[in-house]
C-alpha cells in the first residue's frame, strides 16, 4: 500500500476530488495548511505598515491506495491539480506498513 500526500492550491480541491472520484477513489483526508516552496509570498500594507506574507494557504490531501493503483492515482491527482504556474504544490509517496479499519479490524488492502 502507498500513502499519497499531496499539497495543492486550495481552489483546485474540488477538481481533484472529482477526478479521484471518477477513477474510483472515494476516501481521503483533507487539512487546511499554510506553507511555501519556491513560490514567493505577497506583500500586504495596512496604513503604511508592510507585511510580507510568505506562508500561503494550501490544502493537504492524504490518501492510501493499493500499490498497484498508486501510479494511476498520482497521474490523476497531479493532472487535476496542475495550473502550470509556480505554487501548484507537491506530491509525496510513502510505503504503508499496515491499514486497519477500526469498525471491524479488517486489515490490509481490504481495510482501505
Amino acid at each position: 500500500m502507498k500513502k499519497i500526500e499531496a499539497i495543492i492550491q486550495p481552489f483546485k480541491l474540488e477538481e481533484v476530488k472529482e477526478a479521484l472520484k471518477a477513477v474510483g477513489i472515494d476516501g481521503m483526508t483533507i487539512t487546511e495548511v499554510r506553507g511555501h516552496g519556491r513560490q514567493k509570498g505577497h506583500k500586504e500594507v495596512y496604513r503604511g505598515q508592510e507585511y510580507n506574507v510568505d506562508l500561503l494557504p494550501k490544502v493537504k490531501i492524504e490518501l492510501v491506495v493499493p500499490s498497484a493503483r498508486a501510479e494511476e492515482v498520482i497521474k490523476t491527482l497531479s493532472g487535476a491539480a496542475r495550473t502550470g504556474n509556480i505554487g501548484d504544490g507537491k506530491i509525496f509517496i510513502y510505503d504503508v506498513a499496515e491499514a486497519i479499519r477500526i469498525r471491524n479490524e479488517d486489515r490490509g488492502e481490504s481495510a482501505l
Binding site: E44, V45, R47, G48, Q49, Y51
Partner: protein
C-alpha cells in the same frame, strides 16, 4: 404651531441621540475590534461598551451639571446635581424647543464616545480596571471642563453664550476630537509600545468588521453633526450635507494619497479616510457650505494619511489604531479650517452690535477667527496633555494601567475577561 415644532424637534433630537450612541456601540467597537489581533477582540469591544455604562452614571450624578451648569468660565456648577431640575421643560439657553432631558441625554452620547475614541491608542495592552479609573478621572479633568468652555453658558470659548474667546465648534472638533486625540497620544507614550511592536506581525484580524463599523460611524455621524443644530431645522440639513460631503471626500483623499505614494488603494485606507473626513468636518458642519465641506474632507484624508503612515513611523510611538493621527490631527485641521470657511450665509445665529448676522470666518472677512480657533485648539490640547498625565499617573499608582507581559501575550479576552471572541470548535 409651536407645539408642532417642539414635537418635530424632539423627534429628531431623540433619533440623533440614538444615532450617536450607535457610533460607540457597535460602530466604534467594530471599527477598533477589527483592527486588533483576534485575541483582543472582546477586550477592545468591551472598552467601548463599558464606557456606555460608566460615563452614563457619571453624567447622571454630576457630569451634565459640570458641563452645562452655568458656573464659571472653565467649569459648570452643581445646579443639576443628580439631574435636579432636568425634566420636560426646555432650557432656553441651549435648546428652547425640546425638553432639557432630551438635550441632556443627547449630550451624554458625546461624553460616551469621546473617551471611547482614546481606547484606540492604548489598544491591546491596557488593564481593564485601570482603564475604568483612568476614564473616570479623565472625564472630570478634561471632558467636563472642555465641554463647558465650548458649549456651556458663559464658557470661556463659547461664541454664542458670552465666551471671552469666541471659538466655533459646531459638533465637537475641540471638545471631542482634539481632547481624545491628544490624550490618545499621551496614553500611547505613557503606556509604551505593545510587546513586539513594530517587528512582530500585528495585522488587523478582520477588516470586514472594521468596514461595518466605519459605515455605522458614517451613518451615526448624521446624528452627531446634524443633531448639533438641536432642532429639525434647515441648519440641521446644511450640517447633514456638509457631514456627508466631508466623509466622501475624505475617503477619496486618503486612497488617492495611497496611490500617489505607489501603494494600492486599500479598503482600510478608504474607511480611515472617511472617518478622517468626518472628524474634520465636525466643528465646521454647521458653519460651512457644501464645497468647502468637500475641501475640508479631502484635506483631512491627505493630512491624516501623512500623519498615520509617515509621521508615526518616523517618531515610532505606538498609537496602535491611530486615534491621535486621525482624531487629534483631523480635529485640529477641521477646527482651523472652520475659522477659514465659516460663513453667516449658513449660520446666522451670531449677531453683531447692529443686530445683523456677524461675519464668522475668513471668507466673511473675519481673519481673526482663525486665531480664535487656534486658541481653542491650544486650550483643548493643553488640557488634554495635563489632564491625561494626571489621570494616568493616579490610575497607575492605585491599580496599574499596563498589562504584565504574560497577560499581554495571552490577550485581553482571556486575561481580562475570561472569554474568547471566537470559539470555532464549540
Amino acid at each position: 404651531m409651536k407645539s408642532a415644532q417642539s414635537a418635530g424637534d424632539n423627534a429628531w433630537m431623540l433619533v440623533s441621540a440614538a444615532l450617536v450612541l450607535m457610533m460607540t456601540g457597535p460602530g466604534l467597537a467594530l471599527f477598533y475590534g477589527g483592527l486588533v489581533r483576534k485575541k483582543n477582540i472582546l477586550g477592545t469591544m468591551m472598552q467601548s461598551f463599558a464606557l456606555m455604562g460608566l460615563v452614563t452614571v457619571l453624567w447622571a450624578i454630576c457630569g451634565y451639571s459640570l458641563a452645562f451648569g452655568e458656573g464659571s468660565s472653565f467649569v459648570g456648577d452643581l445646579r443639576y446635581l443628580f439631574l435636579n431640575g432636568v425634566g420636560a421643560a426646555p432650557n432656553g439657553d441651549y435648546a428652547g424647543t425640546i425638553p432639557q432631558q432630551t438635550f441632556m441625554v443627547y449630550q451624554l452620547m458625546f461624553a460616551i464616545i469621546t473617551p471611547a475614541l482614546i481606547t484606540g491608542a492604548y489598544a491591546e495592552r491596557m488593564r481593564f480596571s485601570g482603564m475604568l479609573l483612568f476614564t473616570t478621572l479623565w472625564m472630570f479633568l478634561v471632558y467636563f471642563p472642555m465641554a463647558h468652555m465650548v458649549w456651556g453658558k458663559g464658557g470661556f470659548l463659547n461664541a454664542f453664550l458670552g465666551g471671552k474667546v469666541p471659538c466655533f465648534d459646531f459638533a465637537g472638533g475641540t471638545v471631542v476630537h482634539i481632547t481624545s486625540g491628544v490624550s490618545a497620544l499621551v496614553c500611547a507614550i505613557y503606556l509604551g509600545k505593545r510587546e513586539g511592536y513594530p517587528n512582530e506581525q500585528m495585522k488587523p484580524h478582520s477588516l470586514t468588521l472594521s468596514f461595518v463599523g466605519a459605515c455605522l460611524l458614517w451613518v451615526g455621524w448624521f446624528g452627531f453633526n446634524a443633531g448639533s443644530a438641536l432642532a429639525a431645522s434647515s441648519l440641521a440639513t446644511s450640517a447633514f450635507v456638509a457631514t456627508h460631503f466631508g466623509a466622501a471626500a475624505g475617503a477619496l483623499g486618503w486612497i488617492l494619497a495611497e496611490r500617489i505614494q505607489g501603494h494600492k488603494m486599500s479598503v482600510l485606507g478608504g474607511i480611515s479616510g472617511a472617518v478622517a473626513g468626518l472628524v474634520a468636518i465636525t466643528p465646521a458642519s454647521g458653519f460651512v457650505k457644501p464645497f468647502p465641506a468637500l475641501f475640508i474632507g479631502a484635506a483631512a484624508g491627505f493630512v491624516c494619511y501623512t500623519m498615520v503612515v509617515k509621521v508615526k513611523q518616523k517618531f515610532g510611538y505606538d498609537d496602535s489604531l491611530d486615534a491621535f493621527g486621525v482624531h487629534g490631527i483631523g480635529g485640529t485641521l477641521g477646527a482651523l479650517l472652520t475659522g477659514v470657511f465659516a460663513t453667516n450665509a449658513v449660520n446666522d445665529a451670531l449677531k453683531n452690535a447692529a443686530g445683523q448676522p456677524a461675519a464668522l470666518g475668513l471668507v466673511d472677512g473675519n481673519g481673526m477667527q482663525v486665531v480664535n480657533q487656534l486658541t481653542g485648539c491650544a486650550i483643548a490640547a493643553g488640557l488634554a496633555v495635563v489632564g491625561s498625565l494626571i489621570a494616568l499617573k493616579i490610575s497607575d499608582v492605585i491599580i496599574g494601567v499596563r498589562l504584565d507581559g504574560k497577560e499581554e501575550q495571552t490577550g485581553l479576552d482571556v486575561s481580562m475577561h475570561g472569554e474568547e471572541g471566537y470559539n470555532f470548535e464549540s
